[in-house]
């Protein structure tokens, strides 16, 4: 067997994977975001993997609120649509919009607006279960994705989200306290119906417009789809009197 060329001898550190890679921008970005540089030997696969993980994390978070960003949210929504179609488990999508946000910016400045976004995001996170996803999907618009949420609990959950924000006092940079309210629109994923993420979001958005139009600081949920089987229907179907078929 011919011997390997001398150039293949392990004289250099184990950096073949990073040869030719330009990492400066990525490292600068991560430093700016407050991420520590990977502890592994620079250029090693473990180093690069950590770097990629940090970049993935960075690209799925909203920098201002620390919540999941729109991209992350859309992926989660698509996964949930698939899951609901297969499992038939109910899932609720809420879209939350800060009322009169433009007024906050105009009257108190953008720093105050940023603080409102952060505090609302925090209040939303505190008002739902750890398994639920809270995302910032637009300027002052948030979304909450609640897997495995029975339709009977929908109104209560949505009201809790709204009230939690209403109870949150935002301290302005000048020390004054500002209270904010949100409008909430929601729609359930149709059970065991394969829908699309876009359609689901549109349905929740439609309810948000309704909540805005009806005066803000309120919750509007899409009426539970007419094809959902009610308790009365189920009782009659499964427990009803055994009758003789006359056909």
């Amino acid at each position: 067997m011919p011997s390997l060329e001398a150039s293949a001898a392990p004289t250099a550190p184990a950096t073949p994977a990073s040869q030719g890679l330009r990492l400066d921008n990525a490292l600068a970005l991560l430093r700016q975001a407050g991420c520590a540089e990977p502890a592994h030997p620079p250029g090693s696969p473990a180093y690069l993997q950590t770097l990629i993980d940090q970049l993935v994390e960075l690209s799925s978070r909203d920098p201002l609120s620390g919540l999941a960003n729109r991209r992350n949210f859309e992926m989660a929504l698509a996964r949930e649509v698939d899951r609901v179609a297969r499992s038939g488990e109910p899932a609720l999508l809420l879209v939350v919009d800060v009322d009169h946000f433009k007024r906050v910016n105009d009257l108190h400045g953008h720093a105050a607006g940023d603080e409102v976004i952060r505090r609302v995001g925090q209040a939303l996170t505190e008002s739902v279960r750890p398994m639920d996803l809270v995302a910032r999907i637009g300027g002052e618009e948030f979304a909450v994705l609640l897997p495995n949420c029975p339709s009977a609990f929908g109104p209560q959950v949505a009201q809790r989200v709204r009230q939690r924000v209403a109870r949150t006092a935002v301290t302005l940079p000048d020390g004054r306290a500002l209270s904010v309210t949100v409008s909430v629109g929601g729609a359930f994923a149709p059970q065991w119906v394969r829908s699309t993420p876009g359609l689901w979001l549109q349905r929740a958005d439609l309810q948000l417009y309704r909540a805005k139009a009806e005066g803000r600081d309120r919750v509007c949920l899409e009426p539970v789809a007419s094809h959902e089987v009610s308790v009365q229907e189920r009782d009659l179907l499964l427990g009803g009197p055994k009758i003789q078929d006359s056909e």
Partner: protein, 269 residues
Amino acid sequence: MSELSPSPDPGPAPARRPGARITAVTSGKGGVGKTFVAANLAAALARAGERVLVLDADLGLANLDVVLNLAARVTLHDVFTGRATLDEALQPAPGGFSVLLAGSGLVEYSRLTPEVRDKLLDLLEAVRPRFDHVLLDTGAGISDVVLFTVSLADEVLVVATPEPTSLTDAYATLKVLAASQPARPTRLLVNQCARTGDGRQVRAQLQQVVDRFISPTLAEPLTLALLGEVPLDPAVREAVQRRQLLMESLPGCAAAVALAAAAARLLTR
């Protein structure tokens, strides 16, 4: 704005045209033997001399290829994209009928766009003159696409078992269809019946709730007709595991006899 609605526009009313009678075979959730029933009804109809097509109406998510032990070489996807003709995609199945398999590439058609609607309409128009019966196997779940396809059928066959979950799903399916689609003859086939009479019992239970909760919302009351009851039969499991048609491998067993009787009723209407 129609995209905001979870259920599709009913589309053109299914006027009776010359050619195949289109039957949507549906059940809501899977696991009740819907594809098994569709394939064996097709085989029984083929034995009776009818030209039958079974179409994977869930565009790739039905189990037709698995049940029939067929590989989809040319698929509906190829037809939709112009890579193959309809003739090339029509495959002979073991029971003497034809199948049109969707192929997994059709996931991209899982959203009901005007383009998908047109393709499905064209497809059904193209197959209608060539067969006597088209059975639409709707797979598990009711997507917008499946609802649209079902809306093109001349009649609906709901497959259920006496299990409470199946009863509930069958009822939910009836409710979705009643709320979003034109009224059509709707029949029930009860699969996996442990006792004789289970089928009639299931039909009566469903009809009772339909009368109370669905019919009052409709112009005409919805009446379920019982197409048949198929007994729980160990031969079925055997055929399914061997991926064979019951009508082919064990035509004399109780379940096959019941399916043949159901097919005969499908012929008389």
